[in-house]
Amino acid sequence: MNKKDIPQDHSALVSYIKELCYAVGEDGQYTTANSTGWDVKTNALNLAWQDIEQRIITAYRQVKNHEVSPILYYMELRLMDISILSAYTGFWKWTIKRHLKPAVFARLDNKALSKYALVFEITIEDLKTEKFNADKF
């Protein structure tokens, strides 16, 4: 890639970082230059986020239908999976899977709930009452 061909497209990075790119200068020598972004990879990143949003919406609906506990919604919202959630809370993975069942979740004491609330950075009330904004999606 020649230095003059480094794309300068708009991207989410713009207000934070202009990333460093390597390219060939006019003298044939490698040089570096900053780039504001490239549409191709911005699209790839957006696709990953669309996928995440879809998972959050699905989890939200499942919670509303009482198929799973609110833990799943917040887990998706924080981009976690069960093994990451397990590492942060200290619960075994199979314990978390049990907690995803609404019936088991309803019987959890405040100590267990507070562990989840701490990791999700919400209050125990948020976790219990599923008080997410219904109009959000």
Binding site: M1, S15, Y16, Y22, A23, N34, V40, K41, A44
Partner: protein, 335 residues
């Protein structure tokens, strides 16, 4: 306390930390040189490791290896510590700073407050340098950022003890230079870096890594298309593009940095064919970027025919051939 540390932006975090720490110790190295000495160029497809529901790809060697190899090849001792407790990790860090020793830290990016939200995934192999402390803020040199920044004690401890795959466990490291690193040592490190890179890319066993890994993915693209469908394959290709072009690669899946390395290596190894081989890696980088445009057409839903996936397959096969040829020529040079 603040160390007179010079921050230099780099494409990739680990290269940058290595360059900045070594330059603080009196060496004058560049990012491409460090990348080459550490045999950073690679390709691997990891089907059993899922990142955001798509398989993992990497265009570079395992996290931590570039720093380790570069230092050991230059004959520099590395101090590396992991911790169980946060308070112990913070105490050792503070001690280092008191002794005027800037320190490299492995951190997770999810809680890294100065990063753009769009990039904050649970990725735990980011690297930065802590080079000082004011009342309650640590001074941070993050090599992918243009300028230095800072984090509170709480924020730094949280990213140092991020959890999940590749959890950093408070890991810190720094080089300990006892003797002056001679030019011969640098030449030697460059040669050893090149040799191992040839070995890693051409002769690594198994189908998923090196040049054969690129061909393996090429064939997989057609299989994914036939069994998983257009949408899922598009998601996988988006992942391939992200790993190739996202901040940290310098563009073209590290191929441009490697081409720059060969160009700089020419000053140490007087053999003109190195320049030609460098151009081949530039070409490989260009081809990777062109293939990314093709991928984008697919995952944006603009290209949906099977022929478009075959096109992608062909492109990767050609890239593999170009890289194989370049590496074979490199292996023929008497180092």
């Amino acid at each position: 306390m603040q160390i007179n540390f010079s921050h230099q932006q780099s494409a990739h975090c680990e290269n940058g930390v290595t360059v900045n720490l070594l330059n603080y110790s009196g060496l004058k190295l560049t990012e491409p040189l460090v990348f080459g000495m550490g045999s950073g160029l690679f390709f691997i497809y990891i089907p059993f490791l899922k990142v955001n529901n798509a398989p993992a790809f990497s265009y570079r060697t395992m996290p931590g290896l570039i720093f380790k190899r570069t230092c050991s090849r230059l004959g520099i001792k590395v101090i590396r510590k992991k911790f169980r407790s946060e308070s112990e990790a913070q105490r050792i860090l503070d001690d280092c700073l008191k002794n005027n020793q800037p320190v490299g830290c492995q951190v997770g990016v999810y809680y890294l407050t100065y990063f753009p939200k769009e990039y904050r995934f649970h990725f735990n192999a980011h690297n930065l340098v802590v080079y000082g402390k004011t009342d309650d803020r640590y001074l941070i040199s993050d090599p992918v950022m243009e300028d230095t920044t800072s984090l509170t004690e709480f924020e730094l401890n949280r990213v140092r003890f991020a959890k999940g795959p590749l959890a950093p466990k408070g890991q810190l490291y720094y080089p300990q230079i006892d003797a002056i690193v001679s030019d011969e040592k640098i030449v030697d490190a460059i040669k050893r870096g090149i040799k191992q890179n040839i070995r890693d890319m051409l002769y690594i066993p198994g189908p998923i890594a090196g040049v054969s890994g690129i061909k393996y993915v090429a064939k997989k693209i057609l299989k994914w298309h036939d069994s998983l469908g257009v949408k899922t394959t598009g998601l996988y290709l988006a992942q391939l593009v992200r790993m190739q072009e996202e901040i940290g690669t310098g563009g073209g899946g590290f191929r441009y940095i490697y081409a720059a390395f060969l160009q700089q290596a020419h000053a140490y190894i007087k053999n003109d064919s190195i320049i030609k081989i460098s151009e081949q890696f530039t070409k490989a980088g260009d081809m990777w970027r062109d293939s990314a445009i093709q991928s984008a057409g697919i995952f944006k839903g603009r290209l949906t025919d099977r022929a478009d996936f075959v096109n992608m397959h062909d492109r990767l096969m050609q890239i593999a051939e170009v890289e194989k040829d370049a590496l074979t020529k490199l292996s023929k040079i008497k180092l």
